[in-house]
Symmetry: C2
Subunit: 201 residues, 2 copies
Amino acid sequence: MCREGLLVVVSGPSGAGKGTVLNLLKDSGDDSIRFSVSATTRAPRKGEVDGLNYFFKTKDEFKLMIENDELFEWVEYCDNFYGTPKKYIESTIKDGYDCLLEIEVEGAANVMKAYPQCVSVFILPPSFEELRRRIEKRGTEDVDVVNKRLDRAKKEIAYASNYDYVIVNDSVEDAVESLRSIINAEKLKFKRNIGILKQFE
Amino acid sequence: MCREGLLVVVSGPSGAGKGTVLNLLKDSGDDSIRFSVSATTRAPRKGEVDGLNYFFKTKDEFKLMIENDELFEWVEYCDNFYGTPKKYIESTIKDGYDCLLEIEVEGAANVMKAYPQCVSVFILPPSFEELRRRIEKRGTEDVDVVNKRLDRAKKEIAYASNYDYVIVNDSVEDAVESLRSIINAEKLKFKRNIGILKQFE
């Protein structure tokens, strides 16, 4: 069957529990899955390892990556650059591993355009009330701050219609299983296995 | 999530082990899955139950079903009619059950045309050699008969490109798991869950 890995783009608003889902998948020891590593110009924090947490770059190196079209997408944020290097993803896929890329909605739109054969998954919170509860639990009680975050989440959720799949994160375990089903099923798509009929001709 | 069930069309040449895969799925006690029941004018065999194995019809009743457009597809074979009633499938799906329809390639093509939102799966034998072995094992040693069946299988396999998914039946258990993944993933497709974003607007 399908020998090349998949690029799986995963987005979702803060409060959807996307990080928890991906961490559980990461810790499940599935050797066929790799996680995309971003490039950044910000300084490494304590314990962060180059090539594992980020590819740490100088601003000149990063600008050269932009010029050489080595990034699927990039943004400037708080005077630092962040981007998604093509090379890591492409070689991971070529080696037959599935590559998961957690990315915000606008970056995701750029990746989907650059790599249309990717699979895109949007993770939703179970309900608007639960989203509010989760955002409120994140340390601030300032109503204005909570409302701003909710507004932002709503705007992000509106992008869900651009994605192939949508997972409601009601239970983290179920959400991980859903993600696995999507990856398994996508690999069985006829369009990813065209060569398979050759031997029966 | 997606409340309506799926119509899952399953085909594959004889020797692909399609029946074994579907029987294992049937016996696994998954209550969310139903199997389509065909209509036929042939007499019930011992132990066959109307509405369970087949809907048994007189020729007049069958012809009336054709006239009233109550069949997705039908064929005449050995002076008897066989067909796929729409009503059973449609009510099963509406009640939220997934409906599996095992059907040969030409009937499947008609169903896909009549019900484009269906999911189609083609089951392949692991290799051409294994297909030959399985066909040879089916009771006849007549080389001509074996070759005719192989030819027919090849012709059927050429239709695989019309299907959404292709499963290589190397291990029956894996094939059942693949079928489950496909059903789970299809239910997570955004296009089947458009209403889900309403509460976040």
